[in-house]
Symmetry: C2
Subunit: 470 residues, 2 copies
């Protein structure tokens, strides 16, 4: 009966006079896609971002370079205003290239293996640390160990992403906890360091970094990520020699906070300038490579809304705002600074969309909003966007940066590219420009611009209803 009720609601929607002018919308959206695919403008911007400010971790000189260069692109693409919003950010530096070895006299083994410091970790003493290893598959196993066995050891977290999970972000969510809490939980029992299996979807030789946390009441111990391949070797070696030793050396450290910036660019709304549709990605990236998928793609997807609107002469009624957030990776200070400012700005945010899931072929958008809003978007926007292959609004979710706007914005959303390849690249040395396909990237930009176009024209579900009653 529920099905029948929904169908009757559909019936009412589609037979009402509020039916979309789907023909003219489809034509315009078709132009958005054509323009993006033909002139490839975003792909050029991605090249600039990746090749001139590759390792743009918050607080680094390259992060400043990214801020300044992307501000110029936005201005050149025709934003009405571009400004830099201040925020203080953490300043963690990796130092020398990390080293690590598996050492076993009984196995006649002294094998160098690829590791990288986890973001925000302290470094080791100058000679590194060396100890026996205890392997666990997650926090649960750690807590079941005898604390006296842990003391003085290195804990090896070897939990892997479940391959059978189709949507890989869910698999990541399932696994990433051991990375974040690795050091603080192991230190609680007296461990002197931790090695964490890279959160990655393949067995290969690239360590994947990512943020980890400390608890101020517990001793800080150093943490590294190890490549999945080396994790397999370490695990197999431990089965043969449980007394083998692991040695690693890192020289990372956290320096005092420094001043950095979000980049904010607007096209002012012609009719409702006080109503804001926000689209953003994060400008900072881990220092392993170029942050091409994470989140160069999201930066470009966002910026191209301005380019595509200007190129096609689309004059929005509401204010379209691009925000390139600083510091998503290790602090979210940019998102917090923006949200704090937005709450006092006197503006009304009607939608905030984030792109931070890579430059792969887009499928649709995740939604974090009321059921009524979901119903509106799924029944009205999805059919139009589905024609272009980007109409899947079935998945819940928003985004790490726009999530801070949740209490002032009724519609939080995220671009949802196909997720199969994302964790091949994520936070590793292979996340480079050359691994982004220009057509897939531009399809994402076109998808975002099209969604923004529809939101501007029809509003979100709530806003639309209010206006119709006027």
């Amino acid at each position: 009966m529920k099905t029948i009720a929904y169908l009757l609601i559909f019936l009412l929607c589609f037979s009402s006079k509020n039916i979309f002018s789907q023909n003219s919308d489809s034509l315009l959206i078709s132009k958005i896609f054509s323009t993006a695919l033909k002139d490839n403008g975003g792909f050029h911007a991605l090249y600039d971002l990746c090749k001139h400010s590759g390792k743009r971790l918050s607080g680094s000189p390259l992060a400043d370079t990214a801020v300044n260069r992307m501000a110029v692109w936005l201005k050149n693409w025709g934003a009405d205003t571009v400004w830099l919003q201040e925020c203080m950010v953490p300043h963690w530096v990796r130092g020398e290239k990390e080293e690590a070895k598996i050492i076993s006299s009984s196995l006649k083994m002294s094998l160098s293996v690829p590791v990288c410091a986890l973001g925000m970790s302290i470094g080791t003493p100058a000679n590194g640390i060396k100890a026996e290893v205890i392997e666990v598959l997650g926090m649960g196993e750690l807590k079941n160990l005898n604390p006296t066995d842990i003391k003085g050891k290195i804990i090896f977290y070897n939990g892997s992403m479940p391959p059978e999970t189709i949507f890989t972000f869910n698999a990541y969510g399932h696994t990433v906890g051991q990375r974040w809490a690795s050091a603080m939980e192991a230190a609680r029992y007296g461990a002197i360091g931790v090695v964490v299996r890279s959160v990655a979807s393949h067995i290969d030789s690239h360590p994947h970094t990512g943020s980890m946390g400390y608890n101020d009441t517990i001793t800080k111990i150093p943490a590294v990520a190890i490549s999945t391949q080396a994790a397999e070797i370490l695990s197999a070696s431990l089965k043969k020699d449980k007394n083998l030793k692991f040695w690693f050396k890192t020289s990372c450290q956290t320096l005092p906070d420094v001043l950095s910036h979000n980049v904010i660019a607007d096209i002012k709304g012609s009719k409702y300038p006080n109503e804001v549709i926000l689209i953003g990605g994060h400008l900072d990236a881990w220092d392993m490579a170029e942050g091409a998928h994470d989140d160069g793609a999201g930066v470009v997807h966002s910026m191209e809304v301005i380019r595509l609107f200007r190129t096609l002469g689309i004059k929005p009624e509401r204010t379209i705002r691009v925000v390139l957030f600083m510091n998503e990776e290790n602090g979210s200070r940019g998102a917090k600074a923006y949200a704090e400012w937005a709450k006092k700005s006197g503006e009304e945010h009607i939608a905030a969309i984030e792109s931070d899931a890579g430059g792969f072929i887009p499928r649709g958008f995740t939604l974090d909003c009321s059921d009524a809003e979901k119903f509106y978007l799924r029944s009205k926007f999805s059919p139009v966007l589905s024609y272009f292959g980007v109409g899947d609004f079935s998945r819940d979710g928003g985004g790490a940066d726009v999530g801070y706007l949740k209490d002032i914005c009724p519609l939080i959303s995220g671009l949802s590219p196909d997720s199969q390849r994302y964790f091949d690249y994520h936070h590793s040395e292979i996340d480079v420009y050359e691994e982004v396909n220009d057509r897939e990237l531009e399809m994402g930009s076109a998808a975002v611009a099209s969604f923004v176009y529809l939101l501007d024209k029809y509003g979100n579900g709530m806003k639309r209803n209010a206006r119709e009653e006027e």
Copy 2:
């Protein structure tokens, strides 16, 4: 009103007693996807196919290797029967590596450029051919030229794939005509050779081959494909020196037809063994690389239906048949032989599905069938498969090999992976195993196995209805 009518039909469908047991189906399909993603069996088979029988063009020893090795995989994966179906195939050989140069004395230019012979072309004389060049963007332009201007020249077809076309197979279809007819049309006006811009979605240095045809009443002249990058250079150079010369040398030739085989493997139906659900890809591949996407992926997608059914203990009521077709690329002799045999076999083909669009993330299936059949599949199968991201049944179309079954099979269908990257690789030296993502490949296998599972359980629209009336 049409909308309302459709909704009422939906209403009737969903409230009828014939509603799918969607829970149990979703659980089973979920297992199919899990198994494919977890054990990666198809990816290992793809490795074998690509690395042991890479350049498996019809008639080559490597094509025989592919036939024999894949037959073993099918047997090992538990097919009830595996047999080789004879067919005579063309035997074209490329000969020595092709050479080509752009030569201009006024531009002080003698530039080697990457070309490859088009499939089935004759070769040049031993010293190659050298002539002035006339550039056209397609057949239309050729026909508008003065025939006396063409005589003795080389025609350069420089039409490119329209980048704004989202579904790249449509862009390919728009462009490929100039490749197929290039030589026969140019020879009609006295040209001595043709150079065709590679039908590819990017500007790069890889020539892409593909089949071309001759007309027995017109002189045969040699044809090569030139990389898109070199095509741009040739075109720009012609603007500066319209009298420049192009030289190319090929030694390809067509030898007498040879005996080859389709590989056919069945799981015999437990209840309706005479009703066949066919799934196939083509085993031959162009000799430029390994044919990993074209069509190693389709071979694996098809073979894995048997693997996944056996692994999960699925006992089909109908006969599930895998056909690895020989000679799709330059003659379709395998498809013709199978169709001829099938028409006399006394069996009833209820569906024939092809995978020949690469190992990229699947979106759904194309359909070539009656409107009633489409309605049945879109309303009944699509909702189940959409949960796994593979429920898009909106696109029309079938497949080159299964198309020959059209007059005996009510449902012709094709797996529809995302098309953005396909023509980066297609028929070129970069179509190798390393460019296939294992998760994307396995998602395709799972999609096909799931569709076959639903077809076996519920029949196609026509068959289902008949049975319900029993």
